[in-house]
């Protein structure tokens, strides 16, 4: 019953052109059969004689029926006759199915106004989401304060390890290099005034107040922020979050709070190290390029940096860490759809965090300046 598909012979019977088919008719034979049918002289019916056909594959039968409908729409006729029981059996499989063309979605075209409206609604929804998240988080915090045993305290250790220890090499490397670059750039300028000793001030203060916390936050956002969003997003998509709820766990206490706490702890910790290696990097450049003695460098750092400078940086780092954790968890829990939804959440997490970091940095710096903390 197998055999290659072919047209055994063709005949004109009155008005009709008859093709005698043979072998196994499958999807790959259809383009050829389509060309053969199209090449027949225009008037009259086309008749496919299926008597010699061994096998008609199901997909090919669907296409034959479509051709029949198309021919009818064009005022011609495509017919078939005969066929052994297996072939008829496959043709019968498609009897009575609706025409798919009726099921096509109506094309939707969006105007400017429509797009604007949708964007506004999305913004409103986003704000609602933030409020709902804040509310649920506050409730989780209160509950944890009342009954600390409900929290996954032991889970925090693992999270701190993943977000902190594993990020240590990249944090140290990047901040060391940043310190070197800062030192070099400011030395070029200060040399003009013979004030190279102030390189130490510039490097250490900017590392402590700005660059340390910010660089660490950016690294942690890229690593852990994206990671947490993808993790929670996948859990959401696979109904794991819903399952947790049915088991009597609040996902905010169980998943969100530990992550926020972990990052609020890790980012300041990494910042301390970042400031230290950044200043060290600055010294390396200064010693190599400006012939500064290491002791002179550290004396200068010691005399300009107050505890408040470092404190200000650490407060920033704390806020950054909590923000990264919150945004990542919020976006993760808001994931919808499948794998693509997880990708969207992860992307929007990183973008939102980067924007918020800059915004918060500006706000906190302004507040410090206003209240003369560490200025």
């Amino acid at each position: 019953m197998e055999g290659v598909f072919r047209i055994a012979c063709r005949e004109s019977q009155g008005e009709a052109e008859v093709l005698f088919l043979e072998g196994r008719l499958g999807l790959e034979d259809l383009p050829w059969l389509r060309r053969e049918l199209g090449g027949l002289p225009p008037p009259g019916d086309r008749v496919l004689d299926l008597g010699g056909l061994g096998v008609l594959e199901a997909g090919a039968a669907a296409v034959l029926l479509r051709w029949q409908a198309e021919a009818a729409a064009a005022g011609r006729r495509l017919l078939w006759r005969g066929g052994p029981p297996p072939v008829r059996g496959i043709l019968d499989l498609h009897e009575g199915l609706p025409d798919p063309r009726a099921l096509r979605p109506a094309p939707c075209r969006r105007g400017m106004l429509d797009t604007l409206g949708r964007a506004t609604l999305q913004l409103v929804r986003d704000c609602g989401e933030i409020l709902a998240f804040t509310g649920a988080l506050t409730r989780a915090v209160l509950r944890t304060l009342r009954r600390p045993s409900e929290m996954q305290w032991r889970g925090i250790g693992g999270l701190v390890n993943r977000a902190g220890m594993d990020a240590l090499p990249i944090v140290l490397l990047i901040n060391f290099l940043i310190g070197m670059i800062m030192s070099f750039q400011s030395a070029v300028q200060l040399l003009k005034f013979g004030a190279t000793v102030y390189v130490a001030d510039i490097v250490s203060l900017s590392m402590a107040r700005e660059l340390g916390p910010f660089m660490v936050a950016v690294i942690v956002a890229g690593r852990s922020g994206a990671g947490f969003a993808a993790e929670l997003g996948t859990m959401k998509v696979q109904e794991e979050i819903d399952a947790l709820r049915t088991l009597g766990f609040d996902p905010y206490t169980f998943l969100v709070l530990p992550r926020i706490l972990a990052l609020a702890f890790v980012v300041p910790l990494l910042t301390v190290l970042a400031v230290a290696v950044g200043t060290l990097g600055g010294m390396v450049t200064a010693v190599a390029r400006l012939d500064m003695a290491p002791a002179a460098w550290w004396n200068e750092v010691h005399s300009t940096m107050s505890g408040w400078d470092l404190c200000g940086g650490l407060i920033k780092a704390l806020v950054f860490g909590a923000t990264i954790g919150s945004v990542a968890c919020m976006r993760g829990l808001a994931t919808r759809g499948g794998a693509e939804g997880v990708g969207r959440s992860t992307t929007s997490t990183v973008v939102t965090i980067l924007f918020l970091l800059v915004l918060l940095d500006a706000v906190i710096t302004a507040l410090f300046f206003q209240f003369e903390i560490g200025m």
Binding site: L27, L30, R34, A58, A62, L93, G338
Partner: protein, 253 residues
């Protein structure tokens, strides 16, 4: 090694499992062309694992699998010669159901868009999903996703399909319609079907040949026609699998 004529899948000395801990040892069996073959066994007996080896997703510890017209499925390239339904359906989540079915047609056939649409709709109609081509998998029920997965496994009209629990999660009527479809394709196209299933009703109706896997034995407990095994097997474990109602029920005090 070439498969013998009349054989669709040949398994020789296959051991599967994880490095230190083989799950199934030294399996040998063959699936005849045009037959409906079932892999049976208790939950966790290694059916899905064997299934993944049959379709060439995993390399066996020892032994080999040969598929007629393909050879070693691990090395299979080009137009897929067999269709696969995964236990969790495996539909692409960010594509509509229709796009999921159209994807292989677009890649492996030279059909016009209109013709592809006709094939997709007919295939979905066969599994009772006509009109759902514009839905995302996330917008379908579990049983509907399963049926969508079956439609996608069949869309290229392969001569061999592997189905992991096609009837799981379906109501009895839909499950019976699915069995009808499998029978129709098997009778009229000579489709060879290798399926993993627990549904005794479908086993009764469809399956001509089976192997029954067992966790303790690390291999095949019984093989043959389930209708015969059911009554004639000397092993009480085999009879119990096919007739769970004969297991003694605890007396109600």
């Amino acid at each position: 090694m070439k498969v013998e004529p009349g054989v669709a899948v040949q398994v020789v000395g296959l051991s599967v499992g994880w490095s230190q801990e083989p799950l199934l040892v030294d399996l040998s069996f063959e699936v005849r062309r045009g037959s409906i073959f079932a892999i049976l066994g208790g939950s966790g007996s290694g059916k899905s694992t064997l299934f993944r080896h049959l379709i060439g997703l995993e390399a066996p510890l020892t032994g080999r699998v040969e598929i007629a017209g393909v050879g070693d499925p691990l090395q299979a390239r080009g137009r897929p010669r067999f269709g696969v339904l995964f236990q969790s359906s495996g539909l692409l989540g960010s594509w509509t159901l229709g796009a999921n079915l159209e994807l292989p047609l677009r890649r492996w056939t030279a059909l016009e868009p209109e013709e592809r649409e006709a094939v997709v709709c007919a295939r979905l109609g066969q599994v009772g999903l006509c009109g759902y081509q514009n839905h995302l998998p996330a917008e379908l029920s579990g049983g509907m996703r399963k049926r969508g997965g079956i439609a996608r496994a069949l869309v290229l009209d392969p001569e061999l399909v592997f189905l992991d629990e096609p009837g799981a999660g379906l109501d009895p009527v839909t499950a019976a319609q699915l069995d009808d479809l499998i029978l129709t394709l098997n009778r009229n196209l000579g489709l060879t079907v290798v399926l993993v299933t627990h549904e005794l009703a479908s086993i009764e109706r469809l399956v001509e040949d089976c192997i029954l896997l067992d966790r303790e034995e690390k291999g095949i407990l019984a093989r043959g026609d389930p209708r015969q095994l059911r009554v004639e097997s000397p092993d009480p474990r085999v009879r119990a699998f096919f007739q769970p109602e004969t297991l003694s029920t605890p007396a109600v005090p």
